[in-house]
Symmetry: C2
Subunit: 241 residues, 2 copies
């Protein structure tokens, strides 16, 4: 059984839905997965496994929300198109993340697959009833959504910074956390996606990546992979705010 799914990596095909979150209170065993095997099976019983292709739109904003999703494999982006034509990427979603939580029966953002992805799809009403009838399971969801709330607020801090270099470093750092601070980090999204996520122009993201590269802080084996060369300098740029 795989406890922690690797971000963006392929999971074993028989894995049940997982949720990743830091709980309210310290767990007895820190490495324990959020969901128990029994809870995963209960969720699996009411879920449909859906495979989506890269670029495939899972749902569009302002449409009727019938389903909630948990990611098993792959990376999804959630975005909102503004009246001006500008696109706002509000989140990148990874394995063990939940998405599709509606507001008044309507989806708030459009969600689209970046890589090929495997999703667990839940009928919203069925999921709600299941959660209401199982306080422990629902509590896991509560932890998960709270976790995402904190992540959203951390993102806000990254976006509120004005220096492009620091924004980018903070973004890379957010992707670096799983698994435990490896030096190689996948960037499945395009530079343009990163720009609309960080509130920068595409050109600024490009200049910031080159700048980090020229300073010897990181290198890019290819466009969708970044390797941290000088962690100390990286940390200094990221935390100087």
């Amino acid at each position: 059984m795989i406890d922690k799914l690797r971000r963006g990596k392929t999971a074993s095909p028989d894995v049940e839905p997982a949720l990743q979150a830091v709980p309210f209170l310290p767990p007895i065993r820190p490495e324990a997965p959020l969901l128990t095997d029994e809870q995963r099976m209960r969720l699996a019983a009411i879920a449909t496994r859906v495979r989506v292709a890269p670029r495939e739109v899972i749902y569009r904003e302002e449409t009727a929300a019938a389903s909630v999703y948990i990611i098993a494999e792959g990376v999804i982006k959630a975005f909102k198109d503004m009246p001006s034509g500008r696109r706002w990427v509000t989140a990148f979603l990874f394995p063990a993340d939940v998405f599709g939580l509606a507001e008044n029966g309507l989806y708030v953002r459009t969600s689209q697959a970046i890589t090929s992805a495997l999703l667990y799809r839940f009928d919203t009403r069925v999921l709600i009833e299941t959660l209401k009838s199982d306080g422990d399971l629902q509590f896991k969801f509560l932890c998960k959504v709270t976790h995402e709330l904190r992540e959203a607020q951390r993102q806000t801090i990254a976006i509120g910074r004005k220096d492009a270099l620091g924004k980018l470093a903070m973004f890379i750092r957010q992707l670096q956390r799983e698994p435990e601070r490896s030096v190689d980090i996948e960037l499945p999204m395009t530079r343009s996606d990163i720009a609309s996520y960080l509130g920068l122009s595409l050109e600024s993201v490009s200049r910031a990546t080159r700048s980090l590269e020229r300073r010897g802080v990181v290198c890019f084996p290819n466009r969708h992979m970044v390797r941290i060369i000088d962690q100390a300098q990286f940390d200094r740029i990221e935390s100087t705010i």
Copy 2:
């Protein structure tokens, strides 16, 4: 019984805890409060009412998290002090908002009263057990936290803008939503708080407020009150992004 507490206004002294959120699915009666009277009483039974003075710190970041709070009256700010000495205000909290949800047993931010406030304080462990044993009540909390997650993502959009005028307009608009789009909006926080919330310098906030005033979009009867004069122009500034 007061269903929707007015933001920042004084509530009747006998009101039970309330939660304000837009649910996942459209409610049968749209005006219904999130919590039933019975649920409020159940929460009241395990809560302590606490009165805090303006500027009083309710808890500090990185300290052990013993309690969760729901606001009955008043306005609270949550912030994080950065190593550089810069202060980051991550949220302003109003009546019917929850705060103090810990991460691994530690508070993530410092929370401080802006106005005098009345809080319902819950022992975290007791609240968790209560929620686990009452699926419907817990679901209300899940809706609430999800609601706050969406709000945080909306805030992110406001902060990602680069024009100070638009940021400020979006901020005022967020405060305007309750009660239903009145022209008079209270700004209990200082300009400096607004600046650290929006990722602007204090001077930029000041220039933006004066600019809105000079254009005849709004006026400030006093420093903690803004009145919208030209809603159409206001909306145009706020939504031009």
